[in-house]
Structures are given as C-alpha cells and as structure tokens.
Symmetry: C2
C-alpha cells in the first residue's frame, strides 16, 4: 500500500493502536496535542514534538533564519497552550545541509531565544547532524499542567459552542504573499509576519483550561476544516460552522480584496494560525465569551455549534448550506 492512500492521519491511526495497549496508569498518548504523563500529585507532565522539513513546512529562501527559529519553537508551544499547560523546556534536533553557514545558525538560534526568553522556556539539549538533503528541525517541548485543568480533543458534546481565540487566515494570506512574490507594502509585511512569527496562545490556553465549561480544545495548525475534524473524531460528534461568523482581520480583508482571494477559504483551510479552537458548554458559552473578552480585551469568537455525529462537518453562510473548495493540509495527500 502506498502512503498516499493512507494519509497522515491514517498512518498515525494504523501505528498508534499497537502502542496504546500498554499505557501506564495516568498516561494519555497519541491522538492529542500533547501526551500527558503522571508527574507529581498536583502536576502532570506534557510532552509534544514537531518536525519541520525544508520545502515541506517552509522555504528556506522565503523566511528569515531568525523567524524560522522563532516559529519552530512557537508551533510546539502552541501544542502546550492547546492542553492548557505551561512550557518548561525544549530539546532541539537539527539536520543541517551543506549550504548553511554559521551566520545563518546564529540568527536561527537568536529566533529560538527570542521566544524562549519571552516564555521562560529553557533549551536543555538536542542533537546536531549534517543532512544530505533538506534542513530538518525537530523540537520536543516539556510542559506542566494541573491534573483537573487539562483539555483534550475528546470532550465536545452536541450543543457546545465552537470558539476560536484569534483571527483566522492571516497566516495563510502571508504565505500566499510569499509564494506569489507580492510586493510588500505595510499590510503584506504584517501578514507575512503573522505567518513567520506566530504567537502561541499560552495565556488564552491557560485561561480556558481553568474553565470547567470548556469541553475540548486544540490549536489551529492545519486549518479549522482539518483541525475541527480531529475534535469531531475524538469526541464522536458533528459540527455546523457559520462562515459569516469567522473572525477575519481587516488586514486579511484588504489583501483578499486587492488580490481577488477567497478570504473564507484562507480562513478555513489555510492553517498555521496557531490560535486555539475550543468547545464550550451551551449553558456557559455566552458567559465564557464575555469573561474572555474582559480578561484579554479581545473577543472569544463563536464560529459554530457541535452537532450529533451523523451530521458530519457542515458549513453555512447566509443561513444556507455552503460548500468548501478544498480540504485542510494533509502531509501525505496531494494538495487540491
């Protein structure tokens, strides 16, 4: 069988089952943003790891080394945020191709340190090797969370509101500006920066994890079309998403108008927003959103409702069903 027939999520499902049979007590493994391990009475250990490969996840010529360092750590911290945790330490493995010099690496490490210092994360180890092919960056991050305050993907129930903690599509627009080599005005530069230096929503994640009404949470890495499906699979639910409610930044709207892009498609399938996607119990949804806005001065935006499993994931616009042009990103399927 070819890998492309299986897809990334099929691959994970195929192999995960063989390793989940002997999980130690108090441990949660494959299938969420982080693994959760027993630690002390009032702390759990979170572990996440992400591999970024040149020409798959980034184009080396298109992202400054410092931004790439920042982002490589950022995507991992976002996984910690998605569980409601606090990051502690990071471990970096680098496969370095011949064309990279010490100046490039200096800037790359400066980018890692920018974010590590801001979030009090220690880089405690790693591995360096040469690569005969692409630059390969693997970061593993350890974090801590309170036992009763960890959010998984599996807790959503029909009736829950679906919320996001930030605007969607900016990062995808930034990537498109890079790929289409658009001239960089102020708007374009800001969107590219959203793509290159995503802020992990750690305070938002910790805040949401502290609310009992939040039933499921994950970060938006592949686009909500793909990510929400992960929540729906794990929670055995469906969902209705209102495309009219998607939080789109003024930056994105202006760029979409200027270049003739479909801003909703970017918001739903673009990915790499690294804000959080959360389900909140129906009876507490409005109050949670209001409290979030008081805490952060920005809205927690409701984009839809969790439905029964048979409903699948459906989109609506103007009160009528709407179809999407393409699916979220899956590393083993050709992009449509």
């Amino acid at each position: 069988m070819k890998l492309s027939d299986l897809g990334e999520f099929g691959l994970i499902a195929r192999f995960a089952s063989r390793f989940l049979e002997r999980l130690p007590a108090g441990t949660t493994g494959i299938g969420d943003d982080c693994a959760v391990l027993p630690w002390t009475k009032d702390r759990r250990l979170l572990v996440t790891t992400d591999m970024l490969v040149e020409d798959v996840h980034f184009l080396r010529a298109a992202i400054p080394a410092r931004d790439l360092g920042y982002k490589s750590l950022g995507v991992n911290l976002s996984d910690i945020a998605a569980m409601g945790g606090r990051p502690l330490s990071a471990f970096l493995s680098l496969g370095i191709p011949g064309g990279i010099d010490v100046g490039w690496l200096d800037a790359f490490f400066r980018g890692i340190r920018d974010l590590a210092a801001a979030e009090s994360v220690s880089l405690l180890g790693g591995d360096t090797t040469k690569s005969p092919g692409p630059l390969v960056i693997n970061i593993a991050v350890l974090g801590a969370a309170r036992p009763g305050k960890i959010k998984f993907r599996s807790g959503a129930r029909p009736g829950d509101g679906i919320f996001v903690t930030g605007s969607l599509g900016d990062s995808a627009a930034g990537l498109r500006i890079v790929l289409e080599k658009r001239p960089r005005g102020r708007d374009e530069a800001a969107l590219v920066r959203r793509h290159n230096r995503p802020r992990p929503h750690l305070p938002e994640g910790a805040w949401l994890a502290g609310r009992k009404a939040v039933t499921a949470m994950m970060d938006v890495s592949d686009g909500i079309d793909s990510d929400l499906r992960r929540i729906l699979e794990r929670s055995v639910c469906g969902a209705a998403v209102n495309l009219d409610a998607l939080p789109l930044s003024a930056l994105l709207r202006r760029a979409a108008r200027k270049y003739g892009w479909d801003e909703r498609e970017l918001a739903v399938t673009g990915g790499e927003d690294y804000c959080l996607l959360a389900a909140v119990r129906r009876d507490a949804a409005a109050e949670t959103a209001a409290a979030f806005e008081r805490a952060f001065g920005r809205p927690l935006v409701r984009i839809g409702t969790i439905m029964a499993a048979g409903d699948g994931l459906r989109y609506f616009a103007g009160g009528r069903p709407a179809a999407l042009r393409r699916r979220g990103f899956d590393h083993f399927r050709p992009k449509g």
Copy 2:
C-alpha cells in the same frame, strides 16, 4: 564561517552557552548524554533526543526496516543507560520520503516495539511528515533516575581507572562488512547484527550508577577516541589508554584476520558499540570490576587510567606510546 571549520562539537559549544545562562534550579542541560530535570524528592527526569538521517547515520538499502526501528530507539535508550536511568517513554518524529511504503513502516514500527516491549518503554507520541529528501528519524526519550545516583561526564579525576562494559569494534566491523558487501557467513551475520541491533546497556548503567566509586559515565557512540575526549573535556583531565587491554570479541578478531583490518583501529574509532565507558576511583577499581563480573557474568574491562589535564589522550601498546590512524566520527568534518 563554514560549519566544517567549527565541527559538531564546536557548534554545540557555540550555541549552548547562550541557553545555559538561565537554567532552573536542579537542572542540567547541554553537554551530557541526557538533560536532568527536577521531578520529585527521590526522582529526577532524564531527557535525551537523537536524530538519525538516511545516508549520514544509515543506508536504507543496507539495514532491514525492523532493525532500523530497533536501533533508532536503542541509541536513545543507551543515553538513558549512560546516566544510570530507567527509560519510561518515547516520542518519535518521522520525515518519510516518497519511496517508502506501508510495509516498510510496518516493519520499522515492529522493530521499535521489539525493544520498547523488552524495556517497558511506551511510545506516547510524535509527528509524521513527508520528506523531499532522506528518511529522517528523531526520537526523544524520557527516563527516571535517583538524585544521588546519576552519573555525569564531568566527575573523572586523575588516577581513576577507565572501564568499558562490553567489547569494542564489533559494530564497526559489521558496518564495514555491509559497506564492502562481504559475503555473509555466520561470523559476518553476527557482526552485522551487532551493528544493526545494538543492545542498550541499561542494567549495567543502573548497576554502575549505584556505585559511589564510579566518577563519570557515558555511552560509546562515536568510538572511545571521540567519546573519552568528551569525558576528559568535561572533567578537565587527560588519559592513558592501553591498546593491549581493549576487549575485542573473537568474532572481530577472526573477521579482522580474514579481511586484513586493523582491529584496534575499529575498536577505538569505529563507534556505535553502545556499551558504557566509565571512570572508577583508583581505590575501588579492582573491587568494582570483580563485583560487576559477579553480577553480570561478564567482565568490566579496564582499558586505561585518567591522567592530569596536560597529558591529553595518549595511547600505549606493549608499554610504548602508540599513534592512532584517525579520529572518531564528527558529523561536520569529512571522515579521514
């Protein structure tokens, strides 16, 4: 500056210093086989990570997928053994090139599970992505150790005996058999197996970690010529190694005779033995070796003595100084 001017260890030294300034209390970072983090009163958390890149660390056509899975986990467990720890869980990131099919991955995961099951290690997470170049395998392993019973590279003192827990050079001979495409008789197959499925010396590491007289420990991954230098740098010492005392297996001796190889060169610079290298206080050296042999039914072999820093690393044979042909493996320097 080019990376090749700096070398792998120079690279690590250059960047490590920037991250070690803000280490949390009770934490040891870059520069040993594992990072050590606070956990409970009577436990420390060990973390290690290794990246294996196709055509740098292995040739995909030359190692069965199941062996490669086994070895990928094994080299990480060896780092846990080197600190005296017990491995708990593993996190696997895979960058998968187009030519790999599901059958290959099935075998690879079977190999990981062979060793994970034998050592009670849980595979708890990871990441999979496609790679436009080589197959890339990154594994991070968490382990546990008792606070007073963790061995570092930095504790060796002049006069200490230098010991190894297993024979040296078998793995290098196995690799040479593969590279030179030698016909596989029983001896050759056994040596190739030593290269492909190295056993991490976890029981030996835990035993040695329990002895106060053991002052420094690490695993033999790059060859003792390179690895012993790491201990000497961290301990600010020199060493004298007696080439006549190197533990060479009958397998290695026969293969070296048959193919005209220098068995000592393979033993000293070949690497990937994944046994342990330890320094033991002079006054307890003989007793420790005797107790090890009673415990394991195999000798703990003394190969030399820790000297003052000014002495550097010197080799002796027949009581006279001896020179080595080449240095241990350094990923950013061409192999001589």
